[in-house]
């Protein structure tokens, strides 16, 4: 895989920011989009736009084929057994909320436990906090090891026969930790709990096989994997989805509607109330084609090299503190750090002045920031279009940042 060649598919990367060629290191927030995705959405609106599942006319059929075709692409992408198990939703947040509000409210009661970890993104904390409040269940946290990983022993100690739901992120958007989902799933199942996976930071970077993971739910977002914003998917085990009630009611999701009673469409449409996110699904389908053509294994390998290179290069900067697994340890291609006493916002502003885009703040993980004992951090995250030169530019600018702030102080 040649990242420099792949970059050419991303028109946005070919620009100057503040007089420097753009170095985009914020893909964990949202990835850039290749021209293939932009054109697929454009093409859909130019030639096929119509509402789905109802038109007798040609465009209606074309739009339906594209929308349902995208669903099958998602199914193959994560190796689900059936398209009935793929629900198109707005993104990971919406997907996790659906599980919490539908499966959770029906199956969790007072005295039960919901188990998550300290490293979760807010979208995998708050739906469970709310569920615990409404049902009287207890929300428990699997603690973190000093290096930002979780130990299976702690997993075993936290999950009990009272646990009904375990929900864990596969890859941390802050620490870069890759969690042992298969093993955690096993422990969850041994205790009779269902396993929910927040796959937002995993699906773009790792080959996903939900049958091998054996998880019960897997949520992810399209916009972090070269697709458009506003589209994502929830995988759910068919037997569980069959039993679950929709949480949004209206058009598109119904079978028969009477004055006082209605029935729902079959899977997966009963969870897709309202006109669906058709163009988004088409764009996500194109993104999956794009990623599959490169090969997820190749992407994973490229990012693995980038992560090692970044850890080697950045760890040598005096005064830098990197959170999560350290140099030489397995980690995803996201590096969260602080530099001396320079506040991360100031770091991000100085880097931006040199055309380098990084994220600064709490990364939607306030409990994790508390665990890290900081209020904010800076984060550089990489994707298939990033190169070692990008990391060299980052390192050089960080050294300049240090110097700049030691001058002004």
């Amino acid at each position: 895989m040649n990242a420099a060649e792949l970059r050419k598919h991303f028109p946005i990367l070919d620009q100057e920011v503040n007089g420097y060629p753009l170095v985009y290191l914020d893909s964990a927030a949202t990835s850039q989009k290749p021209v293939q995705v932009i054109e697929a959405v454009n093409d859909y609106y130019r030639h096929s736009n119509s509402n789905v599942h109802r038109g007798v006319h040609t465009l209606g059929n074309r739009a339906t084929d594209l929308y349902e075709g995208a669903r099958d692409k998602v199914r193959k992408f994560i190796n689900a057994a059936s398209t009935k198990e793929i629900v198109f939703l707005r993104g990971t947040t919406t997907a996790l909320n659906l599980v919490a509000q539908s499966y959770g409210r029906a199956n969790v009661k007072e005295g039960d436990e919901i188990v998550i970890t300290t490293m979760e993104h807010h979208s995998n904390i708050i739906p469970w906090q709310q569920l615990a409040k409404v049902t009287g269940a207890t929300l428990k946290y699997i603690p973190l090891q000093e290096d930002g990983t979780i130990s299976l022993e702690d997993v075993r100690n936290t999950i009990t026969p009272n646990t009904k739901i375990v929900s864990v992120m596969m890859v941390s958007n802050v620490l870069g930790t890759i969690n042992p989902i298969e093993e955690i799933t096993k422990i969850a199942h041994e205790n009779g709990a269902v396993m929910v996976v927040d796959g937002a930071q995993a699906a773009p970077h790792l080959a996903i096989d939900v049958q091998k993971l054996n998880c019960d739910f897997f949520a992810f977002s399209g916009h972090k994997m070269c697709g458009p914003t506003g589209i994502g998917a929830l995988y759910g085990r068919q037997a569980l989805l069959e039993e679950m009630e929709p949480i949004e009611f209206g058009g598109e999701m119904i079978d028969f509607v009477g004055l006082y009673e209605s029935t729902w469409k079959e899977l997966p449409w009963k969870f897709e109330g309202g006109t669906p996110i058709i163009a988004g699904a088409v764009g996500l389908g194109a993104a999956i084609d794009f990623l599959s053509e490169i090969g997820l294994d190749n992407i994973e390998q490229h990012e693995h090299k980038l992560a090692s290179y970044a850890m080697d290069t950045l760890s040598d900067i005096p005064g830098i503190v990197i959170f999560g697994p350290q140099r030489g340890k397995e980690r995803a291609s996201v590096v969260t750090f602080n530099l001396d006493d320079v506040h991360p916002h100031d770091v991000a502003t100085v880097l931006d002045a040199e055309g380098i885009a990084v994220r600064a703040g709490h990364h939607c993980a306030q409990p994790l920031m508390k665990w890290c004992q900081v209020s904010a951090t800076a984060r550089a995250s990489f994707y298939l279009y990033n190169t070692e030169e990008d990391i060299d530019r980052l390192a050089a600018s960080l050294l300049k940042t240090k110097e700049y702030f030691s001058d002004v102080f």
Partner: protein, 144 residues
Amino acid sequence: MSFNNLDQLYRQVIMDHYKKPRNKGAIEDGSVTVDMNNPTCGDRIHLTMNVEDGIVTDAKFDGEGCSISMSSASMMTQAIKGKDIDHALKLSSVFSDMMLGNDYPDDLDLGDIEALQGVAKFPARIKCATLSWKAMEKGLQNEK
């Protein structure tokens, strides 16, 4: 060492307030207490003030944040101490105009605050600069 335009943002006087914040801390039993945070970035401020007969007799701040938010808080407390509520609120509205790049009346002595003018050119940082001022506004509006 210089970066293009950055010197407009990180003026010497701002860095001075960041390194040596004025009025840092909390007034015990202050008559007005405001906590505010910027949920998008994690900056937070704890502002305490004493207001007697419509005059801000003392103001202190505590909190966490970047150089811009903390220096702005330092300058803000400095500017409102000893002023009446209307004057403090007027300063706040002038500061808001300054951040938006609008014209503002030049009959007020802004002192160090003028150094924050450059923030207007960095849209991502305007919220950092205005956090403490919004806290002050909220606290004093209730006292009117």
